[in-house]
Amino acid sequence: MWVFIATEVLFFGALFTAYGIYRHAYAESFASASHRLDFMLGTINTAVLLTSSFTMALAVLAVKARSRRATIAALAATVVLGAIFLGIKGLEYSHEFAEHLAPWRADASFAFGAGSAAHQRLFFNFYFAMTGLHAVHLVVGIGVVVGVSVMTLRRNAARVERLVEGTGLYWHFVDIVWVFLYPMLYLVGR
């Protein structure tokens, strides 16, 4: 699992690196574009995801203590929190689509604030690519957690311990990606 995570670090890392270069070069445009994001929803979503990592860690603790019921409860809470995160993200996307912020729906009204429209469009390209890729990882994570919950229901806790642990590592990694995405995207120039 750790080897897979190391490859994922570099997968996201390449995007982060490219973003960093443009964020530095077009600081003004990126700041004015970032102000169009929903700061409140982004912050709430970060809290939701951090809490889902907490419940995932609880699941690992419970499976080690051989408590099947607590393991399943913690896994279920993780799934619910993950789904809430995706719901809020979807709400944000729908607002952004309505405001024509998505680059492929951009029209003449796209330009705003300081900086150039082309560079602001680049910010939103990064925003949708990075949050989209993150959301795909979360969807996969939710699927895996549901699968592991079903297995925990059927088998005894000792046999699923490593499975729950491995799933936890993946989940926490996806959380860490968001921990960096949040200030990178929502807090630019704030």
């Binding site: 750790w2 190391a6 951090l50 990592s53 907490f54 936890g168 949040y182 200030p183 120039g189």
Partner: protein, 99 residues
């Protein structure tokens, strides 16, 4: 479960709760940085807070604190390569003065 085991379990549980609360506090801190003066250092503070959060998640939620040396080595390796990638890319952009 023996009493020694349940004591260890309770301590582990308490650690997780403390880490979770610290993470939420750090989030509150990073969100409120926006309301402070000294605009120039906001990005640096936010990055430092994000790293602190990642470290907490890695050490306590991902159990790197008590993992095997191999797991730690691979985790550190992933970040080392990323740090190399970033350093060299930024050095390149900086030295060539790309606009």
């Amino acid at each position: 479960m023996s009493s020694i085991e349940s004591g260890a379990h309770r301590r582990a549980l308490r650690t997780l709760v403390l880490v979770w609360m610290s993470l939420l506090l750090l989030l509150a801190a990073t969100a409120s940085v926006s309301f402070l003066p000294w605009k120039d250092v906001h990005a640096a503070i936010n990055l430092a807070i994000a790293m602190a959060k990642a470290l907490l998640i890695g050490l306590f939620f991902m159990n790197l604190r008590s993992s095997s040396t191999l797991a730690r080595l691979i985790a550190a390796g992933g970040f080392l390569w990323l740090a190399l990638l970033m350093t060299l890319s930024y050095l390149d952009v900086w030295m060539r003065g790309v606009k």
